[in-house]
Amino acid sequence: MDPNVLSSYLPLYVQAFLLTVKIGWIGIIIALLIGVIVAFIIHFNVPVLKPIAKAYVELFRNTPLLVQLFFIYFGLPKIGITVSAEVCGAVGLGLLGGSYMAESFRSGLDAVPVSQSESALALGMSKAQLFGNVILPQAFSISTPAIVANVIFLLKETSVFSAISLMDLMFTAKDLIGLYYNTTECLVLLVVFYIVMLVPVSILGSVLEKKTRYKMFGV
């Protein structure tokens, strides 16, 4: 392994890393927002919207991100909707992630025991107060492990962005390998940067999981 090659490629990888992280996290935030809204719609049986929400969740959970990206990036322009690769990446990740987050949030909501609602209502709380003070905090705590797993999953999925020519880490690696054949250096850097991207998130996620689990269950 040639350290000169490593150091000359480093800035390219850093740039790619930043782009990946940026679009990745934008996608994750979109996913969280969509997830919460969709989970509410399903949990509260909102008429008309609920079947749409359920269809959305099933469609996007059962198809790969790559196909979704291709559809958005190459297919939609044919009916007049053109987006940049970056927007496509963020939106695609957000739509895919939203379906996973919705499932996780919905499970959390469903897992809060009915007796909690009854106790709160018996004390005279309004439905809004019940939801905000009793159900929502517990639902979040319960769904934390799933949410953390989803975030890690979504960050890993960013590796697919290269397919739509987004200059992310994979694209950079493939490009450099194709041009200069320094396969070892390129792959090593690739691995290193993904570790940097994911390991801190994984550790923070575990800490968050432990904290919420302790708070709820004392374990």
């Binding site: 059962n62 198809t63 196909v67 559809f71 690696a173 396969t183 994911l198």
Partner: protein
């Protein structure tokens, strides 16, 4: 909107064949992962610190590294580092099995630790050897637990096979691209119709399986 191109010639058949490639890779990989996973899962219940550390590292690698990166490392790296000329298909099966075995072993380990020690003890007390105990007493119990989760893994593998087009395998997405290219003049909007169809094909492949998994989970909720 480009759906017309699907009805031309053998285009649709080719798309289905591409999906077949995805299914083939997934099923082979799962078939390898399950027995390996069971064995590794049993090994992971050991108290040996070194073994625990190595297997822990293995699981973390699979957990952190995107499958795409692993595909690249095996496909491009194997040729450079080991001089072996690996076909893209073999590379994908290796990577998917690597992934599948890790998940399976974690599942098995979790299921095994859930079985009370007393089961082992009563079995030994009856005179069964450790191997017999595993074969006749322990494994049948954990198989039930593992089935819904294994089905879930199959679904995820099928979806992930879409990545193998990036190392040149002609699976359904790649076929789609070829069709679009071939019909660029005659059907300029083919991209919409073709990719919508690919989207639907994957959905139709995965949705029934995931429904089956949910149904089984509910059925065996006891």
């Amino acid at each position: 909107m480009g759906f017309d191109v699907l009805f031309k010639g053998t285009n649709f058949i080719r798309l289905l064949a591409g999906l077949g490639v995805a299914l083939k890779i997934s099923l082979i990989s799962v078939a390898i992962s399950i027995p390996l996973g069971i064995v590794l899962g049993m090994i992971m219940t050991t108290k040996n610190v070194v073994v625990k550390a190595i297997t822990r590292l293995y699981l973390e690698i699979v957990r952190i590294m995107p499958q795409m990166v692993l595909l690249f490392i095996v496909f491009f790296g194997a040729t450079r580092a080991l001089g072996i000329n690996l076909s893209a298909e073999s590379a994908s099966i290796i990577v998917f099995s690597f992934w599948g075995t890790a998940e399976m072993s974690d599942l098995v380990r979790g299921a095994l630790t859930g079985i009370p020690v007393i089961q082992y003890e009563s079995s030994f007390a009856l005179g069964l050897s450790p191997l017999q105990t595993y074969l006749y007493v322990i494994i049948p119990q954990i198989v039930r637990r593992m089935i819904p989760l294994s089905i879930n893994l199959i679904t995820r593998m099928i979806k992930t096979t879409s990545l193998v087009m990036m190392i040149g395998i002609v699976e359904v997405l790649k076929v789609g691209q070829q069709i679009i290219e071939a019909n660029r003049k005659s059907s300029p909007n083919a991209a919409f119709g073709v990719f919508a169809t690919v989207f639907l094909l994957y959905f139709l492949a995965c949705y029934p399986i995931s429904c089956l998994s949910k149904y089984l989970e509910k059925k065996w909720e006891n």
